[in-house]
Structure formats: C-alpha cells, structure tokens
C-alpha cells in the first residue's frame, strides 16, 4: 500500500514552479496532487504523480533536488465527518501527522512516521486505503 511522494527543493523565486511543471508536462506525467510550502527563502514542492519513478529521474536529470517518501493515502467519502473520523482514529493510535493535503477526487495524503502502522490502525475504520496503482 501507500503512495510515493516526490519532494522538490525550490527557491522562492518567480518561475521556479513553472519550470518544474513544464518538465512534467513534457514527460506526460500526470500530477494527482500537490502542495507547496515555503519558509520565506526556499520552498518544498510536494507532488503525487502517476509515475513517481519516471518523474523523479527526469527531475533529477534536469538538476532538481528530489527526495521520495512514502505517504499514507486514503479515500474519504465526500460527506461531513470523515476527515474527523480518520484523524481521530490516528490520534487514538498516537500517530502524529507531519503534514497532509488532498489530491484529485476525495483522496487525501498524510505524512506520518510509520505508514504501514497507520494503515493497519485505519483498517478498523470504513475507509478505503489507496495505493500507487489507484492513482494511474
């Protein structure tokens, strides 16, 4: 299970993000979700794509700093209370979330220390857990 996220180092300057997205477009890589965060001086662009390995190698070849991580990915029904259900279950299991964001459809990802453990804890809930092949 789990999905692969690519984190890309980006300076906080106009045009940095488009250089990255243009590259992925050229390689016909589909971005399924992304989050951009910054500290003022530099940012980290986090991407969930359909072909993470291909994306990573083409980004690195273009000189980007890329790191791949495994994230917990869930499909939440589009109705009130489901995000609460999930984060409460994780809180009960003492799983801390570093960050999270939503993808296409009603998918959300969470950065947690131990993805397998989190998935195991969430099996008890009526929540669909997503893996990489679901994103293609």
């Amino acid at each position: 299970m789990s999905v692969s996220q690519l984190s890309v180092f980006a300076e906080n300057q106009p045009g940095r993000l488009s250089r990255l997205t243009a590259l992925l477009e050229r390689e016909a890589i589909s971005i399924r979700g992304f989050a951009v965060a910054d500290t003022g001086d530099f940012g980290i662009v986090r991407l969930i794509v359909d072909e993470p390995k291909k994306a990573q190698s083409c980004l690195q070849a273009a000189g980007f700093l890329v790191q791949a991580n495994d994230l917990l990915c869930l499909e939440l029904p589009d109705a009130p209370g489901f995000l609460n259900l999930v984060v409460s279950a994780m809180a009960d299991a003492e799983i801390s979330v570093e960050y999270g964001y939503s993808l296409v459809s009603t998918y959300v990802v969470f950065k947690v220390l131990d993805v397998a453990f989190a998935e195991q804890q969430l099996l008890k809930q009526d929540i669909r857990i997503i893996n990489q092949s679901d994103l293609v």
């Binding site: 180092f9 300076e11 965060a37 500290t39 001086d41 790191q67």
Partner: protein
C-alpha cells in the same frame, strides 16, 4: 602640561600639532631611528629581514634610508601568531587585542603600559579635534571584546575627562533609553549602527532635535560622506570619523577635525606615514593616491616597520584651517585587497570559503551578497545544496541552515544570513568567479 590643562585648550598638544613641518619631520626621524633599533634588537623577524637586506639600524640617516627597509605585511603577524613579533617578555604586556585574519586565525597585538598610555594619548587628541570636551557624557555602541575600538575609545574618553557609558553594541531601544535618561552627549558607533539608532528612534517617536546628543564619533568601517551628512541632519549632531587599525595600534591613527571635514589628521607624533604604489612598492610623491604604509614611532610591545595597511588614500601636508600642521589623509574608501567590512568587522571571502569547504552537504559554489536595506550591513551567503543534504523536512533544512550560519559566525565574528539555493543556480564562469555583489548604498 597635564591632561586637564591640555583638555581645556582647543588643541590637545599645540606644541606638536601646530609645529612647522621641519620640526615634525625632525622629531619623526629621530623616533624612527630609535624604533628601527628597537625592532632590530628585540624581534628576530626584523633582525633577519634587515640582515637579509644588508641594512643595519645605524644606516638609517634619513627618510630615504628608511624607505629602503622591507615592507611588513599582515602575513608576518599571522605567521608569527600569537606572540612571535612581541618585542618584550609577556610579563610586560598589560593587554592584548586581536582582529580577524584570513585563515580563521586572528592576528594578535600586545601593549605595554607605555603603549596603552600612548594609545590613550592619541585618542584624546583625536576626540578633542572632533569636538569632544571634558564633561561630555559618552555612550559606547561599539562592542568591547578583542576588537580595539571599544576599549581604545573608552580609555581615551575617560582620559579626557568624559563620563563613560559603556553600553556596548546592540539593543537599539536600550541605547535610545540611555541617551534620554543619562543625557548622553557623545555617541561612539559605526556609522551604519548610528543610522540604525537614528531610524529606530524616529520610528519610536524619539525627538532628536531635543536630545542632548551633539557629537558622533564614528569608526570601525568607512563612512561615506552622504551617510554622515544624513545622520547629522536627522540626529542634529556633528559627526566625525576616525581611522585606525589593530595592527599598528587601533583607532586613533587619524581623525577628522571640525574644519576639514573630508580629511583626517594623522597623529604624526605617533605614526610615520608613507604612500606607496601597491604593485611596485615604490614610495609615491605627496598627494598621489596609493597604499598607506604606517610605522608606529614609539610602539614597544609589537613594533611594526613599514606596515602595509592595504588602504588606498592620499596625504597632504598643506596646513589646515583649524591651525594644525599635521598631515591629513583622505578618507579611506577602498582597499587594495578584497576585504569586506561588515558592521565594522573585517571579513574575507576566503574565510567563508574555508568554512563552507568543511560543511557536508554544501557544494563548492557560493555567492556573497552585501546590502544595507535594513539600515545595517547584511551579508548573505548563498550556498548550493548537494542532493544528499536535501530532505522533505523543513525543520531539518532549517537546522542545517542555522548550523552553517553558526559556523560562519564563529569564524567571522559577525552574524550572516545563509540562504539555500538550488543546485546550478549560482553562475559558473571560467577563471576567477565573481563571488561578491555589494549592493550597499551607503
């Protein structure tokens, strides 16, 4: 004449400061000859150098003979770190000071009791020509520490009979409070920090016109005329800047009088000056711009013969409207090497290069940016990350950045901004890379 009597008159030592050029030259030659003999007898480095040049102290009959002596460069101080150039046993040294060097090791100088007294004398003469009088209340905004500026000015101001307020550097709001509460009349600061105090004061509604402050004594970094007149206008004070360097003594080598505002009177009773061509080393005629070479005339602890300052200036001996006949040098704005002065502290790009070379995760490519957008000098070191040093965690990246900044501060003695940039974003050029961009307006 004692100090009180001297301080009470408009010129500290008129007998020397207003003497004829012949009298000044005659005194200097006599002191120079003694100083060459002292250095030769007491310091192996000079004895070997003079022996190699085939010169004996007795050969120095005139200034032309003196100018045949080898020049002394900073490397001599560095190579003999810490005590190799000291001319007296350490139990006769009552204080040491140090300034940053190019390789992480500072250069160290030592003062005998007489040296400290002579230095105090230079400061007293210098601040008096800047308009300071006994009874002034002087607030120190230089750091104390190993830097010569703080203690140098402190003892000179006390010596003249001022009340010292040893506030030290930093904490601008506290400085403002002290100026108001203690009735400060003299501010000792780098010009950029004085400007910062001025601006912070204005933001907080401080009324400079009503303030007791009337004199600014600037040093530690070059003071552009525009900045000085700006501070004078906004703080309602008279500012003078002075010149000096740790190697020859500290501040007090030369300073402005209130008549010739763009030049500084050299304390010629304590220093012999020459201006040389920095390339060939040849002595240049009076008035020509070149590198200033200084020889302290009475220095016991660490005598220096023909010390290369790397500061570019020109000197005139035309008498000044203030009545003094001592030579005046133009303000130093440029150096013959690549030293940067950041908030009064000397920084060499090579020091930064050395620190970065030891940082795992930093590439060899870096760039320096200096600006003063915030009112103070700011040095930003842009460094390229190596792929393995990048992580998805902001906390880890930030701690890497802070760690590099701390390492740099430890060596440079001045805080710097570290900015992480994308690999390849620093321009590569063939040959000598331009590492530095100085965008300071002042």
């Amino acid at each position: 004449m004692n100090i009180q009597q001297r301080a009470a008159q408009p010129i500290f030592n008129p007998k020397f400061e207003c003497a004829s050029r012949d009298e000044i030259r005659c005194f200097q030659l006599q002191e120079l000859r003694k100083q060459v003999a002292w250095a030769y007898e007491k310091v192996d480095y000079y004895r070997q150098n003079l022996d190699a040049a085939g010169i004996e102290p007795g050969d120095i009959k005139g200034f032309e003979d003196f100018s045949k002596l080898p020049l002394t460069d900073k490397t001599a101080l560095r190579d003999n770190y810490p005590y190799g150039l000291f001319a007296v046993p350490l139990d006769q040294i009552i204080r040491i000071h140090a300034s940053s060097g190019t390789t992480g090791k500072p250069i160290v100088v030592g003062y005998t009791r007489q040296d400290v007294e002579e230095w105090r004398y230079c400061i007293m003469a210098m601040i008096q020509q800047a308009g300071v009088v006994p009874g002034d209340r002087a607030q120190m905004a230089f750091g104390y520490g190993m830097f010569t500026g703080g203690f140098g000015l402190h003892y000179g101001l006390e010596g003249l009979g001022c009340m010292m307020i040893p506030a030290s550097a930093g904490n601008t709001e506290r400085h403002l409070m002290m100026i108001e509460d203690y009735g400060t009349t003299v501010l000792v600061a780098t010009p950029s920090y004085a400007m910062h105090i001025c601006e912070v004061g204005e933001e907080l509604g401080f009324d400079w016109q009503k303030s007791t402050l009337r004199v600014g004594l600037f040093g530690g970094e070059p003071c552009p005329p525009k900045l000085k007149s700006e501070i004078e206008k906004r703080m309602y004070i008279t500012c003078t800047d002075n010149y000096g360097l740790t190697e020859v003594m500290g501040p007090g080598v030369s300073g402005e009088c209130l008549t010739s505002r763009d030049q500084q009177h050299i304390m010629e009773d304590h220093f012999y000056w020459e201006v040389i061509d920095p390339e060939s080393g040849a002595v240049l005629p009076e008035g020509a711009e070149g590198e200033l070479v200084l020889t302290p005339l009475q220095k016991q602890g660490v005598p220096l013969l023909r010390y290369r300052t790397h500061d570019l200036t020109s000197v005139t001996t035309v008498p000044c409207g203030c009545g003094r006949t001592t030579a005046r040098m133009n303000k130093v704005r440029h150096r013959s090497d690549d030293m940067l002065i950041i908030r009064g502290t000397n920084v060499y790009p090579s020091q930064i290069e050395d620190v970065l070379a030891d940082v795992e995760g930093a590439s060899a490519h870096y760039r320096l940016l200096v600006d003063d957008e915030t009112g103070l000098d700011r040095l930003t070191v842009m460094l390229e990350l190596l792929p393995f040093a990048f992580t998805d965690s902001f906390a880890e990246m930030e701690s890497f950045r802070v760690q590099v900044a701390d390492k740099l501060k430890g060596v440079l003695q001045v805080s710097v901004e570290v900015k992480l940039v994308e690999p390849g974003s620093i321009e590569r050029t063939m040959g000598k890379t331009q590492h530095l961009e100085d965008k300071r307006k002042r």
